[in-house]
């Protein structure tokens, strides 16, 4: 029950007009980011991070996490209406979501996607609320050897669970750690790997690397694709929403299964992409009517969306409790924490209670507000896709540059 009291405290931190306004701004920006090609959760957060540098940490993290929730919601819009997954984790949503839209049931599919996203994150947030404080207080007993062990386990699971070739994962990790150790050695204050170049004395900033890797590379990758699209416009009426919600209890098993998969893969570095596919495949395997999957079955929308959101949200658990990012976005938020002068890890729960519980409370509130927001404004965001990519691409480049200079 202690967690409940702290959660209420979190809500009290949150309920100011300024933070609520920032929350709305974050959600709207996030949905934009999720809908637009060439931008997604991690790079959207990376590019918009500089906006928050002058804010206090609580407002900043609330806004950034809302951008992330918004991006998760936004990914579903393009998958269902245009058969274009805005995010890799929405690919599985297109399997049944787009056929539904073709059959004139776009509104049902969208409602199903948003609702199941909401349920997925709700389960994950409940998990964070009740599990994270326990893990953090346990982790407070950790000394250097324990932390070494935890990090070693994390890195090993990156190699073991990743879908890439193993030596490539090792190369990426070694390269990242090398880049991080450029500059002054924190123990001996001796310079290393600077080759006498004064710009490198202070090291390579994590956020600069992230903006380059996530922001610029994503645009270049998007340019390789054909960016033409044709799709359906959809309006969601209250009648449809209520109809889908009335059917929800019938799919409790699918929702529960996907939530569990999502939470598990979110905490371990499996990630939202793996979770959405796994959720979809398991829903199909357990179904009595397997052949109807892929032809516009509503369960095929529920399963991947629930899993993706549960995973995206629970990836924040290890970040908050241990200071280990569970996903790319969590890693960027972690970089943000350091910019705002907070030390990620279990001490956060002791030293910055307002920040941690404000963030957890914002996950509840952000998802509720986000759900209402997307249900009411879908046609608007679908129209955003009419903006040509030739206008968006240079603006993203400029945003990346601003982000790099703001640090």
């Amino acid at each position: 029950m202690e967690a409940f009291g702290l959660l209420m405290y979190g809500f009290s931190v949150l309920l100011t007009w300024k933070i609520l306004a920032l929350m709305m701004v974050g959600l709207v920006l996030g949905i934009f980011v999720g809908v637009l090609p060439g931008l997604g959760g991690p790079n959207g957060v990376a590019i918009l991070l500089p906006l928050t540098f002058t804010m206090d940490p609580t407002s900043a993290i609330v806004m950034l996490s809302c951008i992330y929730w918004g991006a998760l919601f936004g990914g579903a819009i393009t998958s269902i209406l245009f058969n274009i997954p805005g995010e890799a984790w929405s690919v599985a949503t297109t399997f049944d979501g787009y056929p539904m839209a073709q059959q004139g049931k776009a509104a049902e599919a969208l409602t199903a996607a948003f609702t199941s996203s909401f349920i997925g994150s709700l389960v994950a947030v409940l998990l964070i609320t009740f599990l994270a404080p326990g893990i953090a207080s346990f982790a407070l007993k950790f000394g250097p050897p324990e932390f070494f062990a935890v990090y070693l386990l994390t890195f090993c699971s990156f190699v073991g669970l990743g879908r890439e070739e193993k030596h490539k994962t090792i190369i990426s990790m070694a390269l990242g750690l090398l880049l991080a150790s450029v500059g002054m050695d924190t123990v001996s204050a001796q310079l290393r790997m600077t080759f006498g170049w004064s710009e490198l004395f202070r090291g390579i900033n994590f956020l600069v690397a992230v903006i380059g890797l996530f922001g610029i590379s994503e645009i270049l990758l998007t340019m390789e694709e054909r960016l033409a699209l044709r799709g359906h416009a959809a309006k969601i009426s209250l009648r449809v929403v209520l109809k889908v919600w009335k059917e929800l209890p019938r799919y409790w098993a699918t929702l529960l299964r996907s939530s569990v998969i999502g939470c598990w893969l979110g905490i371990t570095p499996g990630g939202a992409i793996a979770a959405s596919f796994m959720g979809y495949n398991l829903a199909k395997r357990f179904s009595k009517d397997q052949d109807s999957f892929g032809k516009g079955r509503i369960e095929g929308v529920f399963a991947p969306e629930t899993a993706a959101h549960a995973s995206g949200t629970s990836a924040l658990l290890p970040m908050l409790a241990l200071g280990i990012p569970g996903s790319g976005t969590a890693a960027i938020l972690l970089g943000g924490l350091m910019v705002w002068g907070l030390n990620p890890g279990p001490l956060l729960f002791v030293e910055h209670k307002g920040f941690v519980w404000g963030l957890i409370a914002s996950m509840y509130l952000g998802n509720v507000v986000g759900l209402i927001l997307v249900l009411t404004t879908v046609p608007l965001f679908a129209a955003v896709l009419r903006v040509p990519f030739a206008a968006i691409a240079p603006m993203i480049v400029v945003s990346c540059a601003i982000g790099a200079f703001a640090i």
Binding site: P50, L51, F53, T54, L81, F82, A101, Q102, Q103, G104, K105, A106, E165, H167, K168, I170, I171, A174, L175, L177, L178, S181, D185, V187, S188, Q190, L191, R192, M193, F195, I216, I219, L220, M223, E224, R226, L227, A228, L229, R230, G231, H232, A233, A382, A383, L385, R386, P388, F389, A390, A391, A393, P394, M395, V397, V398, A401, I402, F405, A406
Partner: protein
């Protein structure tokens, strides 16, 4: 259930053609990147060895940790290199087609120019030029639309960051003219 008509259509005239010939295969790129990273790893290993990779009275010297990282990096690169070179069946996957590469260059070169111009013109003027130029020459969008979009965008960025949030960006002669 009535079929809904298609309501949103966005064309992409400059899209890369599907039958464009491959520029390089994934294998070639894997090999090239492995070699570059191997060189990088050796360079860093050498620099760290120079800094000191042993233990002294205070603990590990500054180069100890990065030296072994460089060794791990080099080993992984060597493994990747051997794997690709010794593979019996050569993968024929395309890394990038000619048309795709051309599209990537269309973004990459302007971005590079933008970074260079920023040194003299400041970030905001350079971003105006980038957005306007890109929309006109790559997107083939009407010039007045492009210039208007770019002007509004650069101004909005200036107001947001320089005035509202106090984040200082590199500036050039134009901003100096207005006393910023």
């Amino acid at each position: 259930m009535p079929k809904p008509e298609v309501e949103i259509v966005v064309e992409d005239p400059g899209a890369p053609a599907d039958d464009s010939p491959a520029l390089t295969s994934s294998r070639t790129v894997d090999i090239a990147v492995s070699i570059v990273l191997l060189g990088f790893a050796l360079l860093l290993a050498f620099d760290n060895w120079r800094t000191g990779i042993s233990w002294d009275s205070t603990g590990p010297q500054a180069g100890y940790f990065p030296f072994y990282l460089a060794v791990i990096l080099a080993t992984a690169c060597l493994y990747g290199l051997c794997k690709e070179l010794l593979a019996r069946r050569q993968r024929a996957e395309t890394f990038v087609t000619r048309a795709q590469f051309w599209r990537v260059i269309q973004v990459f070169v302007p971005t590079l120019l933008f970074c260079l111009l920023m040194q003299w013109l400041g970030l905001y003027v350079a971003s105006f030029l980038l957005v306007a130029g890109f929309m006109i020459f790559v997107g083939r969008i009407a010039a007045w639309k492009a210039v208007l979009t770019a002007a509004v965008f650069s101004l909005a960025m200036f107001v947001t960051f320089d005035i509202a949030f106090d984040v200082i960006m590199p500036k050039g002669p134009l901003e100096a003219l207005f006393g910023h």
